[in-house]
C-alpha cells in the first residue's frame, strides 16, 4: 500500500498536471492487485492523487484494459478482427475453448486462465494474433493451439505436440 503510494507520487511528478497521473496510477494499482482493480484499489489511487474513488472508477470503466473483476493468472486474448478473422481466428478461439474448457469471456474456477476474443491487436499481417499476458504470438492457427495450451499449462513442450 505505501509502496503503491510512493510509486504514484513518482508517476505524478512526470506531469505538469497531476490529473494526468490517474491512468498510470491505475495501471500500477492493477499490477499491485494481481491484474485487476478491487474496490480498495480505487480508494488507494484516489488518496494518492487527491481524487475521489468514484472519479477513478469512472476512468477505469472507460478503458478496456482496466479489469473490474478478477482475471486468471494467464490471460489469453485472441484477435477476431477482420484480418485475423479472414485467417481463421474463429477456429483459434474455438480450439482454446476446447483446450482450456472455457468460453470466450470466462475465467477458470481455479483462477488460472482467462480467455477472451479481442479487437485488432496491431499484428494483422501476421494473423492470427494471440496475446498471452500482453505478449503476442504470431501466425497462430487452430492446429497450433493444443501445443500452445500445453505450454501455458506448464507442461513441457519441447518436442512436437
Amino acid at each position: 500500500m505505501t509502496a503503491l503510494f510512493e510509486r504514484i507520487q513518482e508517476i505524478r511528478r512526470r506531469y505538469p498536471d497531476e490529473l494526468s497521473a490517474v491512468m498510470p496510477a491505475l495501471q500500477a494499482a492493477q499490477v499491485e492487485h494481481g491484474g485487476w482493480l478491487p474496490r480498495e484499489a480505487f480508494r488507494e489511487v484516489a488518496d494518492a492523487l487527491d481524487l475521489t474513488p468514484a472519479y477513478c472508477l469512472s476512468i477505469a470503466s472507460f478503458y478496456d484494459m482496466f479489469r473490474l473483476e478478477p482475471v486468471g493468472e494467464t490471460v489469453v486474448e485472441v484477435c477476431t478482427n477482420i484480418s485475423c478473422g479472414l485467417a481463421g481466428a474463429q477456429g483459434v478461439v474455438e480450439a482454446f475453448e476446447r483446450e482450456l474448457g472455457l468460453h470466450a469471456g470466462e475465467t477458470s474456477a481455479d483462477g488460472k486462465f482467462s480467455l477472451r476474443a479481442v479487437e485488432c491487436l496491431g499484428g494483422c499481417g501476421w494473423a492470427t494474433i494471440v496475446a498471452v499476458n500482453n505478449r503476442h504470438r504470431l501466425r497462430v492457427s487452430a492446429a497450433d493451439v493444443p501445443a500452445l495450451a500445453a505450454e501455458l499449462r506448464g507442461e513441457v513442450s519441447n518436442g512436437d505436440a
Binding site: E69, Q90, C120
Partner: protein, 440 residues
C-alpha cells in the same frame, strides 16, 4: 525492384536498438543539423519535403507545425504529443517502426519539439504494446545517458485499450486524465491542445520520417513518390495474401503489385474479391478498381476511397460481404465513446440491421434503412468514428449490392455457412461466474 528505405534506413531488415550502432550510421546528425538552424528553417525543410501526416488525415506536417504559435505569442509551455495509439484495424506499421528504429523515431521527436519550440514531449502509446513500450523506455534511457535530449523531457504515457484515443482530441483528454472523448474543434490543438496550451499532435511515422527529411533535405525527399504524395510509406499488408507484413514503398506504387508481387498473391490459390485500401474505415475496392489503383492520395481519392492509415487488407472469394459489414460495424459499435448520439446509436443499429440481413430475416426495406442510417451518422458527430462505420458499410452495399440482395431474396447467406468470417466472435464483456464461486 529498388525500393528506397527512408523510414527503415540503415537497418538491413533488422532492428537498431543499440545507440552506438545508431550513431555509427549517422544517428542524431539530423538533430544536430536541425539544432544548428532556426526553428522556422526546420519547418521550411518540412514544407519543402511536402511530407503529409501518416496517421490518416494526410495533413501537411510542416504546415501543422507552423500553426503552433511562437512562444512570444502564447506564454504557455508548448507540447509535442506523439500519437502511438495505433489501433485502426489492419494497421500495424507504427509498432514495427518503434521496434526497429526506436532512435530514429525519438530523434524525430526531438526535431519536431525543436521546430515548435517545445521542451515537453508526450508519447501516447497503445496500452497493448508492451514490448514496444519497453524498447522505447530503454532507448530513452540510453539517450539520456548520452545527453542528446538537450533539456527536452520525453514522457511515455501508456494507453489502456480504447480505439477512440487515437483521435487526437480524445487522446489529449485521455492524457489529461479524463475519459477519452473527443473535444469540439475549434479550438484546434495547435492553439489550445494539451492543458489548453499550443500542441502539435503527430503520428509515429510522420515523426520518424521527419528525421529522414532533415537528413536528406526536404527537396531531395520530395523527389521520392509522386506529386501530392511525396516520399515513402510503410504499408501494412494483411488479409488473404501469402506474405502479410509491413512494406516500405514509394507512394504511387501500384496496389496490384503490392498484393501480387510484394505480397506473393492471394493465399491458397483463391481469387481476390475485394480490397480495403487504407484501414477499416475506408471505402472498399473491387478487383477491377484494384487493377487501376496506385497507392497515393490522388489515385485513391479519385476512386472514391482514401489512403487512410495505409493498411491494405486483401479479401478472397470465401468472404461474405454482409458478414464483413457486421464485423466492421461491431468494432465501431464497441469503440464508440458514447458522446454523440448518431454514433452511439447508429453503429449499434447498423450492426443489428446487417445481422438481420445475414440471418435472412430482412425485408427489402431493411436495405434502404441500412443506407438511411449511414446517412444519418455521416458528418453529424464530433469525430469521424461513426462516419468510419457508415462509410465502410455503405461501400460494401454499393460495390456488392447483388450479394446483399441475394441474402434478402434467398432468406439467408448465399455462401451457406462456408464464409471465411462465418460466426466470427466479436469481443464480449468478461463474465465471472467462476470467480463468484471462488469468492463466496
Amino acid at each position: 525492384m529498388a525500393t528506397p528505405e527512408v523510414v527503415f534506413a540503415h537497418t538491413d531488415g533488422g532492428a537498431v536498438t543499440d545507440i552506438a550502432q545508431y550513431e555509427a550510421t549517422g544517428g542524431f546528425s539530423a538533430l544536430e543539423k536541425s539544432r544548428a538552424m532556426a526553428p522556422d528553417e526546420v519547418i521550411e525543410e518540412l514544407n519543402a519535403s511536402q511530407l503529409r501526416g501518416r496517421g490518416g488525415a494526410f495533413f501537411p506536417t510542416g504546415r501543422k507545425w507552423s500553426f503552433v504559435p511562437k512562444p512570444e505569442q502564447i506564454a504557455k509551455p508548448h507540447y509535442l504529443v506523439v500519437n502511438a495509439d495505433e489501433s485502426e484495424p489492419g494497421t500495424f506499421k507504427d509498432r514495427e517502426i518503434m521496434l526497429r528504429v526506436p532512435f530514429r523515431f525519438l530523434e524525430g521527436c526531438l526535431i519536431a519539439a525543436y521546430a515548435i519550440q517545445s521542451k515537453h514531449v508526450f508519447i501516447y502509446i497503445r496500452g497493448e504494446y508492451e514490448q514496444e513500450f519497453e524498447v522505447l523506455r530503454d532507448a530513452l534511457a540510453a539517450m539520456h545517458k548520452k545527453k542528446v535530449l538537450g533539456g527536452v523531457t520525453i514522457v511515455l504515457h501508456r494507453g489502456a485499450g480504447a480505439y477512440i484515443c487515437g483521435e487526437e482530441t480524445a487522446l489529449l483528454e485521455s492524457l489529461e486524465g479524463r475519459r477519452g472523448q473527443p473535444r469540439t474543434k475549434p479550438p484546434f490543438p495547435a492553439i489550445a491542445g494539451l492543458y489548453a496550451a499550443p500542441t502539435a499532435v503527430n503520428n509515429v511515422e510522420s515523426i520518424t520520417t521527419a528525421t529522414s527529411v532533415m537528413e536528406m533535405g526536404g527537396v531531395e525527399y520530395a523527389k521520392l513518390g509522386v506529386p501530392n504524395s511525396t516520399g515513402t510509406r510503410v504499408f501494412s499488408l494483411s488479409g488473404n495474401v501469402v506474405n502479410g507484413g509491413n512494406y516500405e514503398l514509394p507512394h504511387g506504387f501500384p496496389l496490384k503489385d503490392l498484393i501480387y508481387e510484394v505480397g506473393g498473391g492471394i493465399a491458397n490459390g483463391r481469387k481476390l474479391k475485394a480490397v480495403i485500401p487504407g484501414g477499416s474505415s475506408t471505402v472498399i475496392l473491387t478487383p477491377a478498381e484494384v487493377e487501376k489503383a496506385t497507392l497515393d492520395f490522388d489515385s485513391l481519392t479519385s476512386l472514391g476511397t482514401a489512403i487512410g492509415s495505409a493498411a491494405v487488407i486483401a479479401i478472397d472469394d470465401r468472404c461474405c460481404m454482409v458478414q464483413l459489414g457486421i464485423r466492421v460495424s461491431q468494432f465501431y459499435e464497441h469503440e464508440s465513446c458514447g458522446k454523440c448520439t448518431p454514433c452511439r446509436v447508429g453503429t449499434h443499429w447498423l450492426t443489428q440491421i446487417l445481422q438481420k440481413i445475414e440471418d435472412g430475416r430482412a425485408a427489402q426495406s431493411d436495405l434502404d434503412l441500412l443506407l438511411d442510417v449511414c446517412d444519418r451518422i455521416l458528418g453529424k458527430c464530433l469525430c469521424p468514428l461513426g462516419d468510419s462505420d457508415a462509410i465502410a458499410v455503405a461501400s460494401y452495399v454499393d460495390k456488392f449490392r447483388d450479394e446483399f440482395q441475394a441474402h434478402i431474396d434467398n432468406g439467408g447467406c448465399p455462401l451457406g455457412g462456408s464464409s471465411s468470417l462465418e460466426a466470427v466472435l466479436a469481443p464480449v464483456a468478461m463474465h465471472h461466474a467462476a470467480h463468484e464461486v471462488a469468492h463466496a
